[in-house]
Symmetry: C2
Subunit: 158 residues, 2 copies
DNA sequence: CCCACCTGTGCAACCAGTTGCACAAGTCCG
DNA sequence: CGGACTTGTGCAACTGGTTGCACAGGTGGG
């Protein structure tokens, strides 16, 4: 489980509201750890009651709450970053389908594969565009910026 | 969700008991869709009550039950193979950690990364060995055998 | 031959994540 | 200026999967 920690990372870079986090997850970081807005709101509240986050009512809007990482939250994060990571559990539905191809309609399966391939390459293009926009000159990056770029590179390569 | 279908594929190739399936999942097919034995037993029973499988008490051993795909089960499978597949949701804990590297101990994280890398390459070696053992001459493969090999190749490439 | 261990099956409690919906407050347009 | 639409937050029910444990029956060694 890591949604808590992904949120800590994102909020550590910059505080934000539920919806802002949802949007961040829809773009950059969500490529590596996806989540719905409901899930994000739920976890944010739990993290606050656990004392990992503090929230203040938003600038003007009534229902908005902007979350910030507390001291205890950043301790948790620091500890987690150095902790052992379980090996990536690949889970590919399409691979299972391909393995069972002879029990179904090969033509149809092939069409589905082509859909996925198209979807994949459009995502690829999207991330290359993000890279161009946000990291026009990778050579000068350091620290957090460099990390973010490297992970994005990793995603693109994959 | 696809554990049901992965089981249908595996049982379609050859009937088997819970433990046999668990072992198959530990090796070849489990690389693409992992599952614990408890989960497998649970789903097998449900599939039987849903009429996708039939079971007979094992050869001699008392508690053993050997499952076979029914007509209705193979219809479900055929239908599923041709159905649209949601895009692969990558979920990489290590990527999140790398993105949060500056909130923790870089040295430690690097060590964890090296662990994963080692684990990865040992898995890679294991799958290449499987390929050598089970598919010494890929050129002659057809049908189901060919599918299985292709998916294994895909896993290795990844 | 009997006791300790192993193998195969399975239940129960829990947990993270998804789906579907609701509702308050703000905004925009006719 | 009032009704329709949008935005942000959130609850409830459900689902797929994990963890921890139990137990029956078989097996092997002292």
């Amino acid at each position: 489980m890591a949604l808590e920690h992904a949120l800590l990372v994102s909020l550590g870079e910059r505080p934000g509201t539920g919806i802002e986090l949802t949007r961040r997850f829809d773009r950059s970081i969500g490529f590596f750890w996806n989540a719905t807005h409901q899930q994000i709101y739920k976890v944010l509240r739990r993290m606050e009651t656990d004392g990992w986050l503090r929230s203040e009512a938003g600038d003007s809007r009534s229902t908005e709450r902007r979350y910030t990482v507390t001291e205890s939250g950043s301790q948790v994060l620091a500890q987690w970053v150095g902790s052992p990571t379980p090996p990536v559990a690949l889970r590919s539905e399409i691979a299972v389908k391909m393995r069972g191809a002879s029990f179904g309609d090969r033509e149809q399966l092939l069409a589905r594969l082509q859909d996925l391939r198209a979807e994949h390459s459009s995502r690829h293009a999207h991330f290359e565009q993000l890279e161009r926009e946000q990291f026009p000159d990778p050579g000068v990056l350091t620290g957090q910026q460099l990390d973010t770029w490297l992970v994005l590179r990793g995603g693109i390569k994959q």
